[in-house]
C-alpha cells in the first residue's frame, strides 16, 4: 500500500530532466502520469530511490502538426488531450479511438502517452495504433537524441529499449499517405474500464481507383509480449482489389500469426478467434471509410 521512501525532483527544463536522469541512472524512475508507476510502487514491485517528475517540462508536452510532415506528440502529453485533439482525430483516427478507451476519464486525465508506452504492457491501448500509424520514438539523453520505430522500442512485457540516463521524449507520426484510413478495435468483457483481451489496429490506404489496396499495416495487441505486426495480411491484400473473401483470408492469416497466452481474461484459443473477427471487421470498416476518402 505504501510507497517506499524516495527523493522527488520536478525539473522545469528538458536539460535539467536529462541531467538528473543521467546522474541518477537506474536508481531513478520517470514520473509522468503515475497511473501505472504508482501502482507498481504500491505493490512493491518497484522501489526507486528517486522520482523525476517530468510534468513541468513544457518541451515534453503537446501535439504539433505540420501539413505534409506529420505530427509530433510530446511523451508527457495527457491521454485525454490526445483523445480530444481535432488533428489526431482527423489524421490518426485509430489513435484517437484507442485514447478514448484507455481506463476511465480520471485515468485519461492523468495518464500520458509516453507512460503508456514505457510501461509496455502487452494489453496497452496506444502501442497498437501507434505502430500501425508508423510512429517513431525520440529518445533523449545528455548526449543527444536518437530515433527508432516504436515496434523496435517495445521489447516485451514491461521491457523497452530505454537505456540508463535516457528519457522517451517524443513520438513522430508520419503524414498519412493519401487515401489512408486507420481504425482501432478491442474485445473485452465489459464496455469501459476494460483491460483488453485483444486489441487491434489497421492502417489501410487505397489507390486512386478506390479499390486496390496500396498500403496496409495490421497490428495486434495483447496476443504477444509486444505489439505484433502481421506480415501475412499485407502480403495477401496489397496490390489486390479489396473483397470480403480476401479480408477473411488476411484475417485468418493474422490470427494464425498471433501467439496469445491463456489467462484469467481469456483463453489463447478465444483470443486467436477474436483476432480473426476483429481483423476482418476493421479491414472492412477501414476499406469502407477509405473509399469515402478517395
Amino acid at each position: 500500500m505504501f510507497l517506499n521512501h524516495f527523493e522527488y525532483f520536478a525539473p522545469q527544463a528538458a536539460k535539467d530532466a536529462l541531467d538528473l536522469c543521467d546522474r541518477l541512472g537506474a536508481k531513478a524512475k520517470i514520473l509522468a502520469g503515475g497511473t501505472d508507476l504508482l501502482n507498481l510502487m504500491k505493490d512493491k514491485l518497484l522501489k526507486p530511490e528517486y522520482l523525476i517528475d517530468i510534468n513541468n517540462v513544457d518541451e515534453f508536452k503537446g501535439i504539433f502538426y505540420e501539413p505534409g510532415k506529420g505530427a509530433v506528440i510530446g511523451a508527457a502529453t495527457k491521454i485525454s488531450e490526445i483523445e480530444r485533439s481535432e488533428i489526431i482525430r482527423e489524421k490518426y483516427f485509430a489513435l484517437h479511438q484507442a485514447a478514448g478507451e484507455l481506463g476511465s476519464v480520471q485515468v485519461r486525465n492523468m495518464a500520458t502517452i509516453g507512460g503508456n508506452i514505457c510501461n509496455a504492457s502487452p494489453a496497452a491501448e496506444t502501442p497498437t495504433p501507434l505502430v500501425a500509424l508508423g510512429a517513431k520514438v525520440v529518445i533523449s539523453s545528455l548526449s543527444g537524441d536518437r530515433e527508432m520505430p516504436l515496434e523496435e522500442f517495445i521489447l516485451g512485457n514491461g521491457e523497452t529499449a530505454l537505456a540508463e540516463g535516457e528519457i522517451l521524449t517524443k513520438f513522430l507520426l508520419p503524414e498519412p499517405i493519401s487515401g489512408s484510413v486507420s481504425r482501432y478495435g478491442y474485445i473485452g468483457l465489459r464496455d469501459a474500464m476494460e483491460i483488453d483481451a485483444v486489441n487491434l489496429a489497421v492502417n489501410l490506404a487505397l489507390g486512386e481507383d478506390g479499390r486496390i489496396i496500396k498500403q496496409l499495416k495490421l497490428v495486434m495487441g495483447s496476443v504477444f509480449p509486444r505489439p505484433l505486426v502481421s506480415e501475412e495480411a499485407p502480403e495477401i491484400l496489397i496490390g489486390k482489389e479489396f473483397s470480403a473473401e480476401l479480408a477473411e483470408e488476411a484475417a485468418r492469416a493474422a490470427s494464425s500469426e498471433s501467439k496469445p497466452i491463456s489467462d484469467i481474461r481469456a483463453s489463447a484459443e478465444y483470443r486467436r478467434e477474436i483476432v480473426a473477427v476483429l481483423s476482418r471487421r476493421l479491414l472492412q470498416e477501414a476499406f469502407s471509410a477509405a473509399q469515402g476518402e478517395v
Partner: protein
C-alpha cells in the same frame, strides 16, 4: 409527488376518514435524508474519524498459502520496530465466533492453521499506517503447506485424507433433507418431466467502502466503544462481547455512514475484533481499515452452488413435484452457511404452487474465502435453475413461458406444502404488466437469430421469522419521543446502508403521527442511543420498523387524542391526526386543533411524551402439511410477507465474438406500498445491474494452490455505467398488503432474483442455447455456438 397522487390517494367509494390507505407522507418520493451530505462529500464514514492518540492497526495475512499449518510465528522484530505499539496473534483471542452461535468456528486470527488464502495470522498496532505495514512485513511466519481443497466434491471425496476442520468429518458443515408430500409418486403421474444441472459462480458484494473499524477501550471505566461500517450493529455487539468476554452493557457500537453493504457487512468482520483487542491491549483508540484485497480475502460473497433439479408437470402444465439437490461451496468457515443451505431449500416452494417437494443439500468446506450473505441470499441460485427449467418445460408443452408461470403462480392466502404462508401477492399482475409493457408475447420466439427476449419471475422474504440465536424477543423496537423542544425523535438502532431506511422510517413515523416527514429526527445506527434492532438483512427493515413505529405512534396518538378530546369536546376515538392537525373525522371544520398546540398542552401537563413500539414476526413452523411431520431446517424461509417481481430482458448476441449486450429490461414488481417510490425504483434498478454483473462478468479465480487471482477491481469486473441497459421499471402502484405496515413489503433483495434466468432465457431465445452455468462470458458463448454448429 409520487405515483400515488392520482391512483391511490383517495379510493372511490371509500370515505377518506375510513381509508387506511389515504397517506400524506408515505408514498412520496422525498429525497433521501442522507443524500445531501453524501453528494457534498460531507458524510462521515468510519475511516474519516480520527481520535486523539489514535493508533493504526493492520493485519498480517497469509498470502502464500490457502491451507497450511502454522509452525511458528516470530514477531520479535516487529515489536522492536520503532513506533510499533503491540502485536496480536490468534492464541490471544481463541474464542470462536460466527453469525450462528451453533456453528461458530472462526477465530479472530488463525490459530494453528490457515484455511484460506489471505487469512489473518497476526495483527499490529502502530503510530501510523506505514509503520503498521512495515511491522507486518517484519513478522516471520513459518508454514507447513497442506493439501488444498477447492472443489466441494473433491473436498468431500478426500475428507479421509485431509480435513479442513477437526470437528467437521467429511468436510461437511451440514447436510440436510426435507421431504414434503410424495415426490416419487407424483413424478410417476407427471406428463412432462425435466431434469437439469446448474452451476453458479462466486461473485462478491462489491461495496465501495471497504470495512473500517475504530475501537476505543477506556481502561479507567472498562467501557469499549466501537465505530464500524456494519449492517448488523446488534449481532456485532453480541459477538464482540463474546470474543472479548465483556458484558454487552460495557460495549457501545456506533455505525457511521456506510458505503454499501449488500450483505457483505452482515457478519462481524476480523478488523472489528482486531481493533477492539488491540485497543484493549494498548489503552488507545485503534483503527483498522481494509484495503480492497482484504475485502476480497475476507469476502463472504455468494455461495457457488452445484444444483440438480427435477420438475414434473401434469398434462395441463400444473407443477406436481420438484426434486432439488444442492451442493454449496462454503469456503473456509461456517458463517451464514446453514441458513443459506435451508433458504435455498425453501425457494422451491414459491412463487409457484408445488404440492410435492424434496430437497437434499450439503454445505461443504473448501479452502476458499468464506461465503456469506449476499443480496438475495439462498434465492438467486435455485431461482436461476427453476425459472430456466420452467422456460424449457413451457417449450416442451408448446406454450408460452408466461402462460405456464401464470398457471402455476401463487395467490394471496396461499399456504405452501411446507407451511410457508403468503398473506398477499400480486405476482400474476407483475407478470402480466411486464409482459404487456415489453411486448414479450409479440417478440418471444419471433426475433431474428442473435436477438432474444427472456422472462423470469421471483420472490423474496420480507424479514425472517426467527433470530439466529434462539430468542423470541421482538426483532425491532423503536422509541418515539415527542416534546416541545426536539419535536419528534425516533430512536432505533437500525442501520441505513444506503438503501434508505432512515428516510423511510421518517416517512412512516410522520405518517403514523400525523406530522410531516421533515418534522422527524432519526436517531439510528447506535446500540446505546437507538433501541433494539436485529440488523439490516433479509429485506426486513421497512416492515419491521413500520410495525414498531405504528405501535409506538398509536400510544402517543392516544394520549394526544385524549387531551384534544377534552379541549374540543368530542370523543377521542372520533379524532384523527393528519397534516399536523387533530380533528374530528365527522366535524373536521368545527372541531380541529393544531397538533403542536396539543403537544404543548400535553407536555405542560404531564411532561414529554415517549412510547416504545415493538415488532415480533409471526412464529410459523415448517412441517409437511400432508403428513404433519416436521422437516429439519424448514423454519427457515418463513416470513411475515413476501415481495414478488418479474423481469424481461432483451439481448443482442454478437455471433462472432460471443459478446452479449443487454439492450432493454422491463420490470414489474409487487412490493406492496412503495413508502418512497424514488428510493424503491433505485433498489430495483440497482438490483438489476447487480445481478447482470454476476450473470455476465463477475467471478473470483483461484490457481491450483488456492491463491486468489483477482482480489481487485481491475480484474474482478463489475458492470460500468457503459454496460447499463435501458430499464423500464413498472412497480405496481396499487399493490397493498393489508397485513403489512402501510401495506409495504420488501424489494431490496426480491428484485435480484429474476435477473439470472431472465438473461439466460433471453440468450436461449436469441441463439437456441440454454446455459446452465454463470457467468456467461463471450468465450463460453462462442464455444457453445461452435459446438451447436458442429452438432448440426
Amino acid at each position: 409527488m409520487g405515483v400515488w397522487d392520482k391512483e391511490q390517494y383517495v379510493r372511490e367509494g371509500v370515505p377518506p376518514f375510513q381509508d387506511e390507505r389515504r397517506f400524506t407522507q408515505v408514498g412520496k418520493s422525498v429525497p433521501k435524508i442522507d443524500s445531501p451530505a453524501k453528494v457534498r462529500g460531507e458524510a462521515i464514514y468510519t475511516d474519516d474519524i480520527v481520535l486523539p492518540g489514535m493508533a493504526y492497526g493492520r493485519i498480517k495475512r497469509c498470502t502464500e498459502h490457502a491451507h497450511a499449518k502454522i509452525k511458528k510465528i516470530d514477531y520479535s522484530k516487529a515489536l522492536a520496530h520503532p513506533g510499533v505499539l503491540a502485536v496480536l496473534i490468534g492464541d490471544e483471542a481463541p474464542k470462536k465466533w460466527g453469525m450462528l452461535p451453533q456453528t461458530a468456528n472462526e477465530t479472530v486470527l488463525a490459530v494453528d492453521k490457515v484455511r484460506f488464502n489471505g487469512e489473518g495470522v497476526a495483527a499490529v498496532a502502530a503510530v501510523d499506517e506505514e509503520t503498521a505495514e512495515i511491522a507486518c512485513d517484519l513478522i516471520d511466519v513459518e508454514y507447513e503447506p497442506l493439501p488444498v481443497l477447492l472443489d466441494p466434491f473433491e473436498s468431500m471425496q478426500r475428507a479421509g485424507e485431509i480435513q479442513i476442520h477437526e470437528d467437521a468429518p467429511g468436510n461437511i458443515l451440514h447436510e440436510g433433507e426435507q421431504v414434503f408430500g410424495d415426490v416419487d409418486k407424483a413424478f410417476k403421474e407427471c406428463k412432462y418431466i425435466l431434469e437439469r444441472e446448474f452451476k453458479t459462480n462466486m461473485p462478491q458484494q462489491g461495496f465501495l467502502e471497504p470495512q473500517a473499524a475504530l475501537a476505543n477501550y477506556d481502561p479507567q471505566n472498562g467501557q469499549l466503544r466501537l465505530w464500524s461500517s456494519s449492517q448488523i450493529a446488534h449481532y456485532l455487539h453480541r459477538q464482540i462481547s463474546d470474543v472479548l468476554e465483556m458484558p454487552m452493557n460495557k460495549i457501545r457500537v456506533t455505525v457511521p455512514t456506510v458505503g454499501g453493504g449488500f450483505g457483505g457487512k452482515a457478519e462481524a468482520c476480523v478488523n472489528e475484533f482486531v481493533a477492539c483487542l488491540l485497543s484493549r491491549k494498548i489503552g488507545r483508540p485503534v483503527k483498522v481499515t481494509f484495503d480492497r484485497s482484504e475485502v476480497f480475502y475476507t469476502n463472504k460473497g455468494r455461495h457457488p452452488c452445484h444444483m440438480k433439479m427435477k420438475i414434473g408437470l401434469d398434462a395441463d402444465g400444473y407443477i406436481q413435484a420438484v426434486d432439488f439437490d444442492n451442493t454449496l461451496d462454503k469456503g473456509a468457515y461456517a458463517g451464514w452457511g446453514i441458513v443459506v443451505l435451508f433458504y435455498s431449500a425453501s425457494m422451491i416452494h414459491l412463487p409457484y404452487k408445488v404440492p410435492n417437494a424434496r430437497f437434499r443439500g450439503r454445505c461443504v468446506y473448501t479452502n476458499k474465502p468464506s461465503m456469506g450473505s449476499m443480496r438475495g441470499l439462498g434465492g438467486v441460485q435455485p431461482r436461476f435453475a427453476m425459472e430456466c427449467m420452467l422456460d424449457e418445460l413451457a417449450e416442451m408443452m408448446g406454450i408460452s413461458p408466461f402462460e405456464l408461470k401464470m398457471k402455476n403462480a401463487v395467490e394471496s392466502g396461499y399456504t405452501a406444502v411446507n407451511n410457508m404462508y403468503v398473506p398477499h401477492t400480486e405476482y400474476k399482475r407483475s407478470l402480466q404488466k411486464a409482459v404487456e409493457k415489453s411486448g414479450y408475447l409479440e417478440k418471444h420466439g419471433k426475433l431474428p437469430f442473435g436477438k432474444g427476449i427472456g422472462l423470469a419471475g421471483g420472490y423474496y422474504i420480507t424479514g425472517t421469522a426467527y433470530t439466529l440465536y434462539m430468542s423470541y424477543k421482538p426483532h425491532t423496537s423503536v422509541l418515539l419521543r415527542v416534546d416541545t423542544e426536539g419535536g419528534v425523535t425516533l430512536h432505533c438502532s437500525a442501520v441505513d446502508i444506503g438503501q434508505g431506511s432512515n428516510t423511510v422510517m421518517a416517512q412512516m413515523a410522520a405518517e403514523a403521527l400525523g406530522v410531516h416527514f421533515e418534522d422527524v429526527h432519526i436517531q439510528s445506527h447506535d446500540t446505546e442511543v437507538g433501541t433494539f434492532d436485529l440488523g439490516t438483512f433479509a429485506s426486513r427493515l421497512t416492515y419491521a420498523t413500520g410495525i414498531a413505529i405504528r405501535d409506538a405512534a398509536e400510544k402517543i396518538n392516544g394520549k394526544l387524542k385524549e387531551i384534544a378530546a377534552g379541549l374540543l369536546g368530542c370523543r377521542a376515538d372520533h379524532l384523527a391526526i393528519k397534516d399536523r392537525k387533530i380533528y374530528s373525522i365527522y366535524e373536521a371544520e368545527r372541531k380541529s386543533m393544531e397538533w403542536e398546540k396539543v403537544v404543548e398542552i400535553a407536555v405542560n401537563t404531564t411532561g414529554s411524551l415517549a412510547a416504545m413500539g415493538h415488532f415480533s414476526p409471526p412464529r410459523r413452523r415448517g412441517f409437511d402439511l400432508t403428513s404433519g411431520k416436521r422437516a429439519q431446517g424448514a423454519n427457515i424461509g418463513h416470513s411475515p410477507t413476501f415481495g414478488f417481481s418479474c423481469q424481461i430482458f432483451e439481448v443482442d448476441v454478437d455471433l462472432e465474438t460471443g459478446k452479449i449486450k443487454v439492450t432493454r429490461v422491463t420490470e414489474s414488481g409487487d412490493m406492496g406500498t412503495m413508502i418512497n417510490p424514488m428510493a424503491a425504483d433505485g433498489q430495483v434498478e440497482g438490483s438489476i445491474v447487480y445481478n447482470l454483473g454476476a450473470c455476465l462478468y463477475e467471478d473470483q479465480f483461484f490457481d491450483k494452490d488456492g491463491i486468489h487471482l483477482n482480489p481487485n477491481f481491475q480484474d474482478y469486473k463489475m458492470p460500468t455505467i457503459m454496460d447499463m441497459p435501458e430499464m423500464d421499471i413498472n412497480t405496481l402502484t396499487d399493490s397493498y398488503d393489508p397485513t403489512a405496515p402501510f401495506g409495504a413489503k420488501e424489494t431490496g433483495e426480491g428484485a435480484v432474483q429474476p435477473t439470472f434466468p431472465a438473461i439466460v432465457n433471453a440468450i436461449y431465445d436469441a441463439i437456441g442455447i440454454r446455459f446452465t452455468e454463470v457467468p456467461i462470458t463471450p468465450e463460453k458463448v462462442l464455444k457453445a455456438l461452435k459446438e451447436k454448429k458442429k452438432g448440426k
